[in-house]
Subunit: 256 residues, 2 copies
Amino acid sequence: MSLPLSDRGLLLGDGLFETLLAVDGVPVDWTEHMARLVLGCAALGLPAPAEADVRGAAQAALSTAGLDTGRAALRITWTAGSGGRGLDRPEPCAPVLFATAAPSPAPAGPLRLITAATQRNAGSIASRHKTLSYLDNVLARREAILAGADEAVMLNTDGQVACAAAANLFWVAGGRLETPSVDCGVLAGITRAKVLAWAKAAGAPAAEVAVGPDALAKAEAVFITNSLTGARSAQSLDGRPLAEWPLLAKLSAALG
Amino acid sequence: MSLPLSDRGLLLGDGLFETLLAVDGVPVDWTEHMARLVLGCAALGLPAPAEADVRGAAQAALSTAGLDTGRAALRITWTAGSGGRGLDRPEPCAPVLFATAAPSPAPAGPLRLITAATQRNAGSIASRHKTLSYLDNVLARREAILAGADEAVMLNTDGQVACAAAANLFWVAGGRLETPSVDCGVLAGITRAKVLAWAKAAGAPAAEVAVGPDALAKAEAVFITNSLTGARSAQSLDGRPLAEWPLLAKLSAALG
């Protein structure tokens, strides 16, 4: 399969995606990812795909990639389709669905974070969704790699801590677990929600905060979360060594 | 021609584009557009295309579309190509070039502007370039259409007036011509530069300013510029009627 050159996802970044873990051919947290995709469609003004179609594309992608067993990264892409003059979508808009799958080995090596200069756009609803306009995240990650680190911490344009380039962000300060609130231009991560639920059930709820980088600079431990790698402890932030949160192993076990 | 589903332009909005006017098969301001594309590549860390390749693709696109005569909108797209794990580009990065052409009729009807809620990201260099991550512009235009207007005025995340969704912005206040400075997260428009040069030569240089929407609310006249439509006068802004700048016809004649 390939896409025509007129596709608005390609030309303008007009569309959405989801990245899920699949284990032995079974997508993890399917319902949550589909719900988020539907919310993203509403935010962008796109019709939503039929869940059965997405499921079919996902299973076909896993089979085609020979990933009906083992751990796979499954990506669902929903572009705004072809047509329309310049920025304007055609009426009706006819989105295009596709799915791809790739092996998803557990991440190896240290996780060194740096704070990127590239910021999240607090002035666009797009910053709360997984859109095909992901260049700011690519640029932030690139800053990290060029600085000899592995992943970027992104602030938003109001100067608040937002997230990592491809993950949500948590830290522990004075023993308290904190994470940026979704209002900070943050994707409502599925694993982020699971961490929040776990912490609440454990009687030590995490605080969803809107804070500047000073809060991070005082953190004892930092970890990032996403659907592919769960919770992953950072070894350093901007060159400052970090400890591993004593509860991280317990959290990781709970995340499965 | 079509693109593989692994293309980073499609998956992540990782790439650049240029839109040019072509008249009777000859692209207008070719040198300026190529120079801007090269600058964009440097900003994004992408290798730049060979100019001869771009020229060949452009001419082929015009011929294929039967637009070797008349006015055509020519679009050059330069994606970051396929490969790489998640956000990280492969090493070496192998970008993909393509060009498309479509008829470009002169715009008809009034130009009613509204100020959009969707803002330009002042915290990303991407906002100064024509990138494949153009969703914020799509969303701003959509706000305008849904409000019964034709085009959106975008502020940046610092609250400064930036540009229209698909054009640069000029206004006349107290008889003085003004436009947002490039530092306001604005594309360095080719036609914008021609207007600035024309005004300077006419002995009434335009001011490049960093101002809030109050400045626009006091303007007597507003016009937008881009490579396809030249300078186009706005009939209203947020419902407030605007006059046409007395010098606009003279400017349009100079732009050709």
